[in-house]
């Protein structure tokens, strides 16, 4: 796959704060690329520079090998984390207005069908629910049939059902071989949707790769979870562990051996859960804190 976006030595400074510090990476055409990081890590600043909304302090962004300019907006679609749309217009009127900004657009009927807007097409945009609003914003991002779609925390604040519905929409977009750039707080979302992930913290890249490869690199077994009340006995058994969300987490390469060790130390196995490591475990391992910290 060819690189559709090339980010070279990108930096952004706000007064004395360095939000993004000399980062470089490439995004391949047709992939879903996830940008992860805790609050204040610099991911929104990075994505807004890639969208052309913020001017970088240093570095450059190349789209298909060329520096970005205003014509770039004909080829990209953006769903911002915080945005509003003009009041007093209906969903249909909003789509009509934005369609006039572009030379190439998808048909209104296709957008409405694709983003499940049929029932709200004539509704005032002020009267939309969170999920409906996100679907309209996604339709606006898709309107010009873009080559790249930027989705900045698109499911934040949505209920689980709306989140799942939104994931299905993104899967549909991916199926059309479009490049998707996604930032999210939800590790399950990133794991489910992203082909490649970039983890940033304090404005720096700390890891990049496919979710599978990254998990393979940092974990070699499973994770055993136990209630916090067995902590004292585990200390005596001299088994390495961490406490996360008031639970004991033990990373184990050989779970049979670990369970044997626990039984020998008279640790109660009541409440024991065993699972595969996920991106959240990796994230905590790499950054030392949870995404929502």
């Amino acid at each position: 796959m060819t690189d559709i976006l090339q980010i070279k030595n990108l930096s952004k400074k706000f007064s004395e704060t360095i939000a993004v510090n000399d980062i470089s990476f490439n995004v391949k055409k047709g992939q879903c690329f996830g940008l992860l990081g805790p609050n204040g890590a610099g991911k929104t600043t990075t994505i807004e520079m890639m969208e052309g909304i913020l001017k970088p302090t240093a570095g450059e962004i190349l789209f298909n090998g060329h520096p970005i300019d205003k014509s770039y907006y004909h080829d990209i679609g953006i769903q911002f984390q915080h945005t509003a749309i003009q009041d007093y217009l209906t969903v249909g009127e909003t789509l009509d207005m934005f369609a006039k900004f572009y030379t190439r657009t998808l048909s209104k009927a296709k957008l409405i069908e694709m983003c499940a807007l049929e029932e709200i097409a004539n509704r005032d945009t002020r009267k939309l629910s969170g999920g409906q609003r996100q679907r309209l914003l996604l339709a606006l991002a898709m309107l010009n049939d873009p080559k790249i779609i930027f989705l900045d925390e698109p499911t934040t604040g949505l209920d689980p059902q709306s989140r799942r519905n939104f994931w299905q929409l993104i899967e549909k977009i991916k199926a059309e071989n479009k490049t998707v750039l996604l930032t999210t707080h939800y590790m399950d979302e990133a794991e489910s949707l992203c082909d490649e992930i970039l983890i940033v913290d304090k404005g720096k890249i700390i890891q990049q790769g496919t979710p599978k490869a990254m998990l393979k690199e940092h974990f070699s077994g499973v994770i055993a979870l136990l209630p916090i009340n067995v902590q004292e006995k585990i200390n005596r058994a001299n088994i390495p562990y961490s406490v996360i969300k008031q639970q004991i987490e033990i990373e184990s390469e050989n779970i049979e051996q670990t369970i044997k060790q626990l039984l020998e130390s008279e640790v109660s196995l009541e409440g024991l859960q065993v699972r595969s490591p996920n991106l959240e475990d990796l994230f905590i391992k790499l950054t030392g804190h949870k995404l929502r910290s």
Binding site: Y73, T83, I85, Q86, E93, F101
Partner: protein
């Protein structure tokens, strides 16, 4: 062009569907005009005002028993007969006397004119009568351009500046920025939309209020329309300049008030600045509203022609261009510094 039309249309729809704002734009000036028509409907003045053509007034002072010695009469000298007769037509003076020609002018519809005429004839029965007709200029005729102008000022300043800052703050501008729409297309559509709204609302108000109050209009309605367009353009451009960068509604609200309140008091909305210190009159010339109201009143009450008000129109045009150029240059979609 279609991007401009899309934004223009959307902004007009937004204004028309915002019922509360739309109603207020019509109700507020009508309420003020109705209020003023009641408050100033009576004539509480006991004084009679007599105009005297200048050269004769000098001679008259030599005659101690003449009409000019009467008490409770105010005498005003005029050098131009045409201008002075217009004052009689408009009931601004009750009688005009030319002693050199042994002639006087009285408005046949003026009751005060009749009283002063009797006083004159008692002293100078040889005087020849010339009759004029014409409606009186009431305070409401004078204040009406001020009230409509003030309504335009608030609509232009707050309807554009405040809205742009709100758009910037809640991310509407950021959403537009992420499209091929240029800042110029966006700003041009905002100006055109507000201009259409303000001029339409003002024209409808003018027609409706004229039906109710039968205003004194001596000059051309077309010239009045041109004044309204240039006045509104200059104030919209001023508003764009104020709102070009900020994303704080509080700051912009303060700035708009800082501009609009002195403009309201010093531009002659409620009272004339004639007789005020020269520096105050000079300072008032920096406001677009001053030029708009001066031109509008000159057309309405003095019948001023296009060339008579050309200086005001040139100043309003220059203000529009300068404010718009500065506002476009400073404009920022998302308020990012640097």
């Amino acid at each position: 062009m279609q991007k401009f039309i899309a934004i223009f249309k959307a902004r007009n729809i937004e204004f028309l569907r915002d019922r509360a704002t739309l109603s207020w734009n019509f109700i507020f000036p009508v309420l003020l005009l109705v209020g003023f028509s009641f408050v100033f409907s009576g004539d509480g003045k006991a004084l009679y005002k007599v105009g005297i053509l200048d050269t004769q007034a000098t001679e008259l002072k030599k005659e101690p028993s003449s009409f000019i010695q009467l008490e409770h009469l105010e005498f005003v000298n005029y050098q131009q007969a045409k201008k002075a007769i217009l004052k009689v037509d408009q009931h601004k003076i009750d009688l005009l006397v030319d002693f050199s020609q042994q002639q006087y002018w009285v408005n046949s519809t003026s009751s005060k004119g009749y009283i002063v005429e009797q006083l004159l004839l008692a002293k100078h029965p040889e005087m020849q009568r010339s009759q004029t007709t014409g409606k009186p200029i009431r305070y409401i005729d004078w204040v009406m351009p001020g009230i409509l102008g003030m309504n335009m000022m608030f609509s232009c300043l707050f309807g554009v500046g405040y809205v742009i800052v709100r758009y910037r703050k809640n991310g509407v501008l950021k959403r537009f920025q992420a499209t091929p729409l240029s800042a110029f297309e966006f700003l041009a559509a905002q100006i055109a939309s507000r201009l259409l709204i303000v001029v339409t609302v003002t024209s409808l108000l003018f027609i409706g209020c004229n039906f109710l109050f039968d205003f004194y209009i001596l000059g051309s309605l077309l010239n009045l329309f041109i004044v309204a367009i240039l006045g509104a353009s200059s104030m919209i451009a001023l508003s764009l300049l104020i709102a070009s960068r900020s994303n704080s509604e509080e700051f912009t609200g303060g700035m708009l008030n800082f501009i609009s309140w002195p403009m309201m008091f010093l531009s002659g909305v409620w009272f004339s600045l004639e007789g005020s210190p020269a520096f105050v009159q000079g300072f008032a010339q920096i406001f677009p509203l001053t030029h708009m109201l001066s031109a509008a009143r000159a057309i309405m009450t003095d019948g001023a022609s296009f060339s008579d008000i050309a200086d005001h129109l040139i100043i309003l045009s220059l203000m529009s261009v300068v404010f718009l150029a500065a506002g476009s240059w400073l404009f920022n979609w998302n308020g990012e510094k640097g």
